[in-house]
Subunit: 446 residues, 2 copies
């Protein structure tokens, strides 16, 4: 019997737990799930004979070591900044770990220690990062295998509301941790474009979008995502001329979101004065110069260079940003936290709404002298509000990777991301059984 320790049972854990429980009997697993509050975990386990819940605090080092020691494999879905604590315990106790998060600097430094202790720290096996790496590597290896030369790789992913439920002016609802959505992009973005290093600072990120069209789903817009440069090497593509990773939204979202960025409303670096008594209108006004004559609406339109009766203003108004009756009501919030509070009233999924994950890769390559382009596209619609597209596409690759490790089918050690075929081939194959598949289009450019 093998024991899997899952730490963190938030939004994206549902499908992961379902998969592991469904496969527990056959593989003789016990799934032990710890979270800060135990009740929601119990609900997710639903009395399954092979499921165990516990109240768990990652900062309790004794409990952490005890639990890790008694397990055969650890999966961490805790907030990304806490993974390193789990990883340290995994190294001490010689257990492997799986996460869906970006490799942090702290984790990267553990590579040597992990290898010395025979431990695998497998990261970035969710959807983005995760399925993006794995699906792209499959296509890249096919292109290479055909003797063709890849010259450009661009990839974008977005978590959105499914088309039938896409019914607000922003064409966006929260299908993922709202805090992460509000803070997205704050480090700016770096990438290569035709051999040139390119950088976009945060305050320009949502202006520099590109449009893509996905057959059957219409148009989307893409803004640049974090640091694409590091993946040139990770993918074994150091001579690649264009390497770009992006985030997908529906058209118009970025232009409107940029207004909030320009205002300073996404700032998370300081606590606002008297946030508890601030109305939404006072919040908005705090970013505008004092002026007793003009209303907030006129000031913001002038400040942001938009027309007072533009669709952009309508989007701001729809959020309630000019409402002088509703109060933030919570003490000690940063602007980003106040904004999140306001957005959470408006961007919640309605009962019955389903979410959608959209991913598109674009590969430019040379094939016997001609320049060709290949699109590879995935769209996943959620089952319901428990097994969302986000929960499915994050949870399944994590779960399948965990299974492969427990079955001894992945022999890697150290800090890894899923860019080797021994990982991505079996994971992508099994994801196909769950309907997570890519459609390809390929045509000649010149």
């Amino acid at each position: 019997m093998k024991k899997i320790l899952l730490l963190g049972a938030g939004l994206s854990a549902s499908t992961l737990i379902r998969y592991l429980l469904e496969n527990a009997q056959e593989n003789d697993w016990i799934l032990r799930v710890g979270d800060f509050t135990e009740e929601p975990v119990k609900k997710k386990l639903n009395g399954h004979a092979r499921g165990e819940s516990l109240q768990f605090d990652v900062h309790n080092a004794i409990q952490l070591d005890q639990e890790v020691k008694e397990s055969d494999l650890v999966i961490s879905l805790l907030p990304a900044k806490l993974h390193y604590l789990v990883a340290q315990s995994c190294i001490r106790n010689k257990k492997s770990m799986v996460t869906a998060s970006y490799v942090s600097k702290e984790i990267q430094k553990m590579d040597k220690d992990a290898k010395a202790n025979g431990v695998l720290l497998m990261n970035e096996v969710g959807v983005d990062p995760g399925i993006d790496h794995m699906s792209a590597m499959q296509v890249i290896n096919r292109i290479k295998g055909d003797g063709d030369k890849l010259i450009s790789f661009e990839s974008a992913t977005g978590g959105l509301v499914a088309p039938s439920y896409d019914n607000n002016p922003w064409r966006y609802k929260f299908t993922w941790a709202p805090r992460n959505v509000v803070l997205a992009g704050q480090g700016g973005a770096r990438f290569y474009h035709n051999g040139k290093f390119k950088y976009i600072p945060y305050h320009k990120l949502f202006e520099r979008t590109e449009t893509i069209e996905i057959p059957g789903y219409g148009q989307f817009e893409v803004y640049a995502n974090r640091d694409s440069l590091q993946y040139r090497e990770a993918y074994g593509l150091s001579d690649l001329m264009t390497m770009f990773r992006g985030t997908i939204r529906r058209p118009g979202f970025c232009e409107a979101w940029n207004l909030l960025v320009q205002l300073g409303a996404t700032d998370d670096s300081y606590v606002m004065d008297d946030s508890e008594n601030m109305t939404y209108r006072v919040f908005t006004n705090s970013f505008l110069a004092y002026n007793i004559v003009d209303p907030v609406e006129s000031k913001i339109a002038r400040y942001l260079g938009i027309s007072e009766d533009s669709p952009l203003m309508k989007k701001l108004e729809w959020l309630g940003l000019f409402d002088d009756t509703k109060k933030i009501g919570i003490h000690g919030l940063t602007p980003a936290q106040c904004l999140q509070h306001i957005l959470e009233q408006k961007w919640q999924l309605d009962p019955g709404d389903k979410d959608m994950i959209v991913m598109e890769h674009q590969f430019d390559y040379l094939h016997i002298g001609s320049h060709r382009k290949r699109f590879s596209t995935m769209v996943v619609i959620g089952e319901d509000q428990v097994h969302t597209a986000m929960s499915i596409t994050v949870g399944l690759p994590v779960a399948i990777t965990a299974k492969l490790i427990l079955q001894g089918k992945i022999g890697l050690k150290g800090v890894q991301i899923p860019v080797l075929s021994e990982v991505y081939d079996p994971v992508m194959k099994e994801l196909g059984n769950y309907g997570i598949k890519f459609e390809e289009r390929d045509f000649k450019l010149s």
Copy 2:
């Protein structure tokens, strides 16, 4: 005999050292000056009988404790983030410390420990912060003493080139640490305006300027500086409706500087790819979208929304930002470091140039039913490129404060800034002997 330990002997130390040596005989002081390289210190001490130099490394805890232990008072002109190391040693060795820097979070936490050990940690006694606090508090106390009610306080300071030498298109030269100039404002700014909390994010800071006029010196512009809110309480003005601190530049500077901010060229958060081989033009182009048709000049003008033949473009061109022959030539630089490198070629003081410190306070107050406004203005021109206005106005208040502490005339303990009359009255009085004086204008508003 008393021993003064001065740590850090950079640009602003010259006048401080001169003052302490000139007063050493009369007060029976020895001045011991430590810096990472000893040679420049020797030059500054010029063989004075009461001066001693040493090679000093603040990260050498044994040396630090040894030196602090043998001194009677410590002055730190080290980079601001290192003061806390000196302060820790001062507390261990029960010695007081003086700095010209903002109270850091680390220093603020030492208040209790400092008091328990009978130690004074006196900060913010340079020019800004420093003379601004002291001169403002004098006026505020006079206004209060007259039974009048202060309703608004605005204050601004700038380090500039003196009018006769103000001869480049930016009307600016480096008279202070270039790195601090490049990074200035990155935390945004917070202040009160007519009872409303106001916040400006970094990417809007240089757009939200106000113009002031100083008699005899012409027009200047002011942008908001850091967090003004905390000084409401420190000044004993919790009910004040407007509290604003700003930085002074010559007109046109901020609009042009904002272009570099918008571009992302002041970012200090990541290292640029291949910075050693980058020409200035490639540096500029790295912030612009790839496009093989348009030259960098057209792209940047369109991106920043300015005309290609505007004075703003001329300012960028004058810096050399479109030069494709000059290379950065240094590996591993951030954008801010690359920009600093470029600016240092153009914004250096020419031989014979003098610098200037400009400070202006504006007080609105109620006097027997009428609304009045008082301006209080200081202009200091440097003697030469050793005793610059910056060195004079930072060094003298630090030196005078140190003297008062050694003479037992300041009895304060704990973490302090100079907002009590036992400090600012004698310091301001003596500064007057050195020509550091404020001119006042006062008139009825309504």
